[in-house]
């Protein structure tokens, strides 16, 4: 088991996760644009926001890989199947809480279910399992996170 492997897996996994979500976006399965959602926390300029968003997203990918590594060490086991299972939990957490509840709560430009007539946010909230961005978003998110988890698990186990 290797911490460095997990971190490297986090980087590669984030590339795969981002690319697969981007592909789903391009194919019209989802309107979710994670770098834009993250970047617009810091800037209203869409170009700047996308750049910042990608940086934040990759940083998150590395941080999460450390969390995966901690679980691998605690359990004493790593591997692509275990990683993929953690990816399922990760997807449920991301869709059910992280992006659905926590991001709108801190995002200065995103609506929440509590936004009322006094507010004029310019980004719609993701909704449960991010389904406001298209019903297939939940599937895309799941597949992307399972792939991420499998890669982190595989890299951590030294493939």
């Amino acid at each position: 088991m290797s911490l460095l492997g997990a971190v490297a897996g986090g980087f590669v996994g984030t590339v795969v996760l981002t690319s697969s979500l981007r592909l789903a976006h391009a194919l019209g399965f989802t309107r979710m644009d994670l770098p834009l959602l993250l970047g617009t926390v810091f800037s209203e300029d869409r170009r700047k926001a996308s750049v910042i968003g990608y940086a934040v997203h990759f940083m998150n990918g590395i941080v999460f890989s450390l969390g995966y590594a901690a679980i691998f060490y605690a359990v004493g086991e790593a591997g692509w199947i275990f990683g993929a299972l953690l990816g399922v939990v990760h997807a449920a957490f991301a869709g059910g809480a992280l992006v659905n509840v926590l991001l709108p709560a801190i995002h200065p430009r995103m609506g929440t279910p509590w936004s009322d007539a006094e507010e004029t946010p310019i980004l719609e909230p993701p909704g449960f399992m991010l389904m406001n961005y298209g019903r297939h978003t939940v599937l895309g998110t799941l597949v992307a996170h399972v792939a991420y988890g499998a890669i982190v698990g595989g890299f951590a186990a030294g493939l």
């Binding site: 869409r46 936004s115 507010e119």
Partner: protein, 595 residues
């Protein structure tokens, strides 16, 4: 006041909070409320079923006369009930959250103040969650009463309003108020959250905050022309239709209020029509509400991502593209007008005019704010390419006819508008430059409209080459700066007035549309006519028509989609497009008078 258990549609007023709307009847009954959002299931739907729909009633027990108004430039409603023994003023509002306080997700507050004598008030709440399809139970929690259904809850707060009793599916009470006394009711909704039990002081604080917010919002309006009062009321009505969490604007907050009593023309309008984009964006920008305009613009850009470059006619307010239509057989419909629909099948129609409306809105946005961003700019260029490839196809047109698709002249003209604006955007460097191709196609469309869309005998553009009759939507050629000879545009305005208007009322068209039965006069078309008159230099006629139309509003200044010859409102209510058309006409008159 009620006929067969139903109030006339014009007897309703709307209160809202930017997420949903309640319709308050002249007799003090709240007969429509969807929770938590505009497009959710209704908990009060008495307007669609007098017996099973559910309502929140509050009125004197003895016979009364009622006078209503909105508090000055606000969406807080005041109804003054006069009885033989005294007068009570009821204030109805959906509250907004003051600051960071813990507040209910949605809340209706009803405050009754006895201003003279004494008045015995009766109130009752019959909640029927999810249109009454799913069971509702009512329980006591200590001194409080809560109504529940699956993940939904309504917590009741009642102060100086009698001793609430639960009788079957109803919470009710009576209480006598004397001069200077105030009763207060709060109905707080929770969606997938614990029920919220409001305190009296907090409720009063939220109501006071809401009463302060609306005039402050309305005073930002930049409008000094004639018809200021109806313009401001329309603006406030429009703001009620903005879904704050996403920036989308619903066409109307109701479903299935009929376009003809007893007819089948009953549609769900709780969606956002892209067609309204231009008018909404223009109205908000012109009147100084840039934040709302910008939020709506970006909502359009986000919502259309999954279908672009093809644009759907309508989208859900959360940006979704699904609008599957089904019938609520359990509800009897407004005065027996069935079916009651949820969802809207028009989402699947091809309506080419939408492209003109959206591209014009994009152009207006770019003119005000410049750059769209590279990705959005490329997406917009692809929409223009799509129009260039598909304009020659038949469609269902602006009126969403159910008859076979045909070549509607208005649709073609709006395709010209789409390509013309694309050329302007390209020339301004905002989108990819394929201006030469787009200009060539625009010229081809113009040639088609001039050749096939004109009738010498009528002296007007026509509905379609195979439907040689008038269509009031042709007035939008003027509104959208379609490039035609002035004589032809003027001739079309005259012909619409001659063939489709009865006094101030204008029919959409008189011919076939694939549906059974009749419909009322379309109020938007009346305001478009006033707008077109102003744009063709006939401001005096435009002002005369506006005066007649403004007099047709209900007692609180709201309009439905349609109206019959007797002045009865028909169709969904309040109707965003009607109010947008009023604002547009007033602005055109003001501009013409200033010129």
């Amino acid at each position: 006041m009620r006929k067969d258990g139903y109030l006339p549609i014009r007897d309703y007023a709307a209160i809202g909070d930017g997420r949903t709307i309640a319709l308050v009847g002249k007799d003090g009954s709240i007969d429509w409320l969807c929770l938590p959002n505009f497009d959710s299931g209704a908990v009060f739907a008495r307007i669609l079923d007098d017996e099973q729909g559910g309502s929140f009633r509050l009125a004197p027990t003895e016979p009364f006369e009622v006078e209503r108004r909105y508090q000055k430039e606000s969406n807080v409603l005041e109804s003054t009930f006069r009885t033989s023994s005294g007068t009570v003023r009821v204030t109805d509002a959906m509250t907004l959250a003051p600051g960071e306080a813990l507040v209910p997700q949605r809340e209706i507050v009803r405050r009754a103040e006895c201003v003279s004598g004494s008045v015995r008030l009766a109130w009752s709440i019959e909640p029927r969650f999810h249109f009454g399809v799913k069971p509702t139970r009512i329980e006591r929690r200590g001194k409080r009463i809560v109504a529940l259904s699956r993940g939904e809850a309504l917590g009741l707060g009642a102060w100086d309003a009698g001793d609430p009793q639960v009788n079957g599916g109803r919470i009710e009470s009576e209480h006598e108020l004397h001069t200077g006394e105030t009763a207060l009711l709060s109905l707080a909704a929770a969606h997938h959250e614990p029920a919220f039990f409001a305190g009296r002081e907090d409720t009063m604080h939220r109501l006071a905050h809401t009463e302060r917010f609306w005039p402050k919002w309305a005073e930002r309006a930049h409008y000094d022309g004639a018809w200021r009062e109806p313009v401001l009321r329309s603006l406030l009505a429009l703001k009620l239709l903005v879904f704050a969490p996403s920036g989308a604007v619903v066409a109307a907050p109701t479903t299935s209020l009929p376009e003809w009593i007893g007819g089948e023309r009953n549609w769900d309008y709780r969606f956002t029509w892209l067609r309204d984009a231009t008018y909404t964006f223009d109205a908000l920008e012109t009147l100084g509400y840039e934040d709302e305009a910008r939020a709506f613009f970006w909502w359009i850009m986000h919502a259309t991502q999954m279908t672009a470059p093809r644009l759907q006619v309508l989208y859900r307010i959360d940006g979704g593209k699904e609008a599957d239509e089904s019938f609520l057989d359990k509800l009897s419909g407004y005065r027996g007008s069935r079916p009651v629909r949820v969802g809207n099948g028009a989402a699947d129609q091809v309506q080419l005019d939408v492209y003109g409306d959206v591209m014009h809105a994009i152009w207006l946005h770019a003119r005000e704010h410049g750059d769209l961003g590279g990705e959005t700019g490329r997406a917009v260029a692809k929409i223009a390419d799509y129009v260039a490839e598909h304009w020659h196809e038949p469609d269902s047109g602006i009126w969403e006819v159910q008859s076979d698709p045909t070549h509607f002249v208005q649709s073609k003209a709006m395709c010209w508008v789409a390509l013309d604006r694309a050329v302007k955007l390209a020339e301004a460097g905002v989108i990819s430059d394929r201006a030469e191709k787009w200009r060539a196609e625009a010229d081809a469309i113009r040639a088609w409209v001039e050749e096939s869309g004109w009738d010498d005998e009528l002296g007007s553009f026509i509905r379609a080459p195979d439907l040689r009759e008038l269509d009031a939507s042709l007035l939008t050629l003027l509104l959208m700066d379609y490039d035609a000879e002035e004589d032809r545009l003027r001739g079309t305005v005259d012909a619409v007035r001659r063939e489709l208007a009865v006094g101030p009322l204008v029919a959409r068209y008189l011919g076939e549309d694939g549906l059974e039965g009749e419909e009322g006069y379309f109020l938007t078309c009346s305001f478009w006519l006033a707008d077109a008159l102003a744009r063709t230099g006939r401001t005096e006629e435009a002002n005369e028509l506006m005066a007649e139309l403004v007099a047709l509003a209900n007692d609180v200044g709201l309009y439905a989609e349609e109206i019959d010859r007797d002045g009865a409102f028909l169709g969904n209510f309040p109707q965003g497009l009607t109010h947008l058309a009023l604002i547009g006409a007033a602005c055109s008159i003001a501009k013409a008078e200033a010129a």
